[in-house]
């Protein structure tokens, strides 16, 4: 997606070979108009997939997932990083270990909102090692739902996430695929 790639080159900040800061338009300050374009792009790509729900992991995935859900005319599900004191009945949960952030967390989903008739599109901001997406998939399987595909804003293609997901038979649709990062260096995968 050209508009996202241009924005990454203009406003992204590559700190080293692993870290790309996008906090001026995706993570902390959010470009609402860009999110709507992203939502339309995902909705258009997945329009014939009979998607019933769009799921994401709090909190950076919420903005693009909401716009995708709105464009597809389906609800969004926020997979929570820890069970709140109020929301605790009938929870499915799974542990996710994040190599990027060097922590682990519990990902939760209420059984009420997903069942075997659901065909779920998972949206997230980043794909690196694939831990978060794999955790989301585990939760959906526990709920007996099927996975329609995985939509990613920024894929670190030099890390194993895509490979792990494709090995399991999932389609990964990434709007910007990064081949190489370095201090001040951002190189995209060549499109064939």
């Amino acid at each position: 997606m050209e508009v996202l790639k241009e924005k990454i080159l203009k406003d992204g900040n590559a700190l080293d070979e692993n870290i790309l800061k996008v906090d001026s338009f995706i993570n902390h300050q959010v470009d609402a108009s860009l999110m709507q374009q992203i939502g339309n792009e995902f909705a258009n790509h997945f329009k014939d997939y009979k998607i019933t729900k769009v799921a994401t992991i709090e909190s950076s995935g919420i903005a693009p997932a909401l716009m995708t859900a709105q464009a597809l005319g389906v609800p969004m599900l926020i997979l929570k990083k820890a069970p709140s004191s109020i929301l605790n009945d009938n929870l499915l949960h799974t542990e996710v270990v994040s190599f990027t952030k060097k922590n682990s967390y519990e990902l939760t989903l209420s059984k009420k909102f997903v069942n075997e008739n659901d065909h779920v599109l998972i949206i997230d901001d980043f794909l690196a090692n694939g831990e978060a997406a794999t955790g989301a998939i585990r939760l959906m399987r526990k709920a007996h739902a099927t996975i329609a595909g995985i939509g990613i804003l920024i894929e670190k293609s030099f890390q194993p996430g895509r490979g792990k997901l494709e090995e399991q038979g999932f389609e990964v649709y990434s709007l910007a695929r990064i081949a190489k990062l370095g201090k001040g260096i951002i190189e995209f995968v060549e499109e064939s």
Copy 2:
């Protein structure tokens, strides 16, 4: 806002005199179409307020704040509940104590994204004691921004949040004002 009040009566779940669960359309599963209507309602109400940014607190406020920002044509800011390991330069922070959830957390904002020229609309899902909104206001003042107003989806009008904010001179615009909660009981404030 009639459509939100009807949704609360239909799908909200009043557990006791304090807790209203709205996890089927606001908090966990999110009704994307309703969020767009809510965003349009806030944008319409605040359209002449010269708003430069819409701010919210992760993560339940992100969906309505994004739709509001999109409708107003301005960026959204997500006030983070804890400094991430990546996002840590130039952070403003303040402590928020939540009576509802019986915990406290650090709310953070990067100085890069708000300055004295900003006129900020704060959006959140619930207003009860006003701790979260007051924390967001403190952060914006630390950044020397002004507050255009506070937009709330569901106000617990039997709690002191609105009063505290109005005492400080802020306008609070709530889409659904609840006069009374009880097990299975939801009563709205009578509109004059």
